[in-house]
Symmetry: C2
Subunit: 200 residues, 2 copies
């Protein structure tokens, strides 16, 4: 096999294989696709990869990834600076922004508490959140961590940490997903939906 | 959504999205993974992408992708230079090399005849193959194009082109795939297996 694959090709296959969800087969398919594709395609990918790490920083307020500090969201005077949604990852900000109705600010933790993976509160941007709440006039914190064990643990920890600050703390509603089918919903979700039932 | 995603991040998501089989969701997952990953990962991917196009050339004999001309396979004196397997793509060379038993040389066509896609014989490296057969003492050509319409058309065309050269021309066997189940085999494959039945 070595004779058939030049080292540069092997090197790119190996580099692609290190990405999540990309196995050796996909990696070599991508590599041979790029070999046939116009030079511009691999050049623009290489340039974007280089820029990614050199041009991006963390916003000093919300810890989201940005090219300017504070980030466009934190420096937008038209947004509501008295409400902060606390999320685990930058992609969660993207997901909430996609709805288009939330006009507050964010705080990105960059992970969730997970003892199994050796991730404790100090590995997250929780200290920065507490400091931010002390420094500004925030009225409500929406904890929007993931609806799983790690997300719950993180939510509980944050609630304890900010309890004495007197900031209203809410949590995203749990229940049946829209468009779902009751028959196929897992029992934990169903239990939450039952417990959190609303009066009609 | 624009406020939440810096331009450099969008640029990399767009670049990833142009790869085959990579949708916008996968592209943003890869991008945000790289943002969290060590710098070395995106740097090595960028370097490999740049090298891919600057360091690789086509072997002047077999047209495979290589870093040296002739390629390691064509310049290997221990291989049998009297037999050539004709394949569509460089990845097909990798597949045959993986078996480990074929010790001949290759010829990479870089595609197959496909009128629907506007690919004719002149777009492939068929002329180079004919010239190569005239220039050297090749005894057998194994046509190893894909077992589909385009591959068949290409095989037929090549057979016609080299008919007058008096080189023995063979084709990879068609039949049941190993490990398959007769019940689930498509009828074209079953027909070929029946027609090509071997005496036990």
């Amino acid at each position: 096999m070595n004779q058939a694959v030049p080292p540069t090709v092997t090197k790119l296959i190996d580099a692609f294989s290190r990405l999540p969800g990309v196995g050796p087969k996909t990696a070599s398919r991508l590599t041979y696709f790029l070999l046939r594709a116009p030079d511009e395609l691999s050049a623009s990918l290489a340039a974007a990869l280089t820029d990614l790490k050199t041009k991006t920083i963390y916003c000093s307020l919300c810890m989201n990834i940005t090219e300017q500090d504070p980030c466009p969201i934190c420096s937008d005077s038209k947004r509501d600076h008295s409400i902060i949604a606390v999320v685990e990852e930058p992609l969660d900000v993207v997901a909430i922004e996609r709805i288009g109705t939330f006009k507050g600010l964010y705080h990105v933790l960059h992970g969730a508490i997970s003892p199994v993976d050796g991730i404790g509160p100090d590995d997250l941007r929780i200290r920065e959140l507490v400091q931010r709440l002390k420094d500004s006039d925030v009225l409500e914190i929406i904890i929007a961590t993931n609806p799983n064990m790690q997300g719950e643990a993180t939510a509980m920890f944050i609630k304890q940490q900010i309890a004495k600050l007197g900031v209203k703390t809410t949590r995203l509603a749990r229940g049946l997903p829209s468009g779902g089918d009751l028959e196929y919903v897992d029992s934990v979700t169903l239990l939450r939906a039952l417990e959190g039932r609303d009066e009609m």
